[in-house]
Symmetry: D2
Subunit: 77 residues, 4 copies
């Protein structure tokens, strides 16, 4: 799957084997997000994760900061 644009957000769904794998992925996302000082919307239930990216300082639009974090998140898996 790839990132889609929805409601001015860059959105991607990730499916893992189980909750433990999903949460380990979220831990990697969390570390990277804090490092870039750009924090996504995170949704998780069991093995399913949805990440939504948007730049609040830019009037809630998708900006270069979002594409950069999206690319980094893809590289974390």
């Amino acid at each position: 799957m790839s990132w889609i644009t929805k409601d001015n957000k860059l959105v991607k769904e990730f499916i893992f084997k189980d909750f433990v794998q999903a949460f380990a992925f979220l831990t990697k996302v969390a570390i990277e997000a804090e490092k870039q000082q750009h924090h996504p919307e995170i949704f998780n239930v069991y093995n399913r994760v949805i990440i939504s990216l948007q730049t609040h300082d830019a009037g809630n639009m998708v900006t270069e900061k979002d594409y950069k974090l999206a690319a980094k998140i893809d590289a974390l898996i």
Copy 2:
């Protein structure tokens, strides 16, 4: 704040000092959820966390399992 019932879910919002504190809380919730084999819906953006609890095996209703995990989550902070 306390847990509210909404759309057949037990829901509570938590506000933290920053993202790092919010994610550390989520790590505690994750460990406890896996231990109880009962996984919440987790929503997070920056310092804000929303936990929603529902028992899927019981026709998506709030059951004793949800109240038990809710009480445990409150004790984690």
Copy 3:
């Protein structure tokens, strides 16, 4: 690499690509350890993790509980 026995402990070293991957692995180990109520010695620096297992209630010997957690940890990667 495989688990070795050293000083009455079951020990294994894991090398990851970087710190983020190493810590995500530790998060999975942490969840599993708490679930089994059997907590390893964890050592980490950057991309290197050493896990040591021993049963304190059994006079600090390697027991079935350690082999069980070791097998689970191998399956987490």
Copy 4:
């Protein structure tokens, strides 16, 4: 307790209520370490955490980078 200097490392031991609280603290330390690109030696068993800081690029001495991360770690609890 405070940080002590031992074998050219800045070392501090932390005791928590249980393993879950200890590991949530380690998650905060991990995020901060990666953000500063300065990674401590981490030791954990159950509710006990030992953090050791040293600057490898400076001939394994304690430097300003270690004092900075130590102060940040104290602020995370």
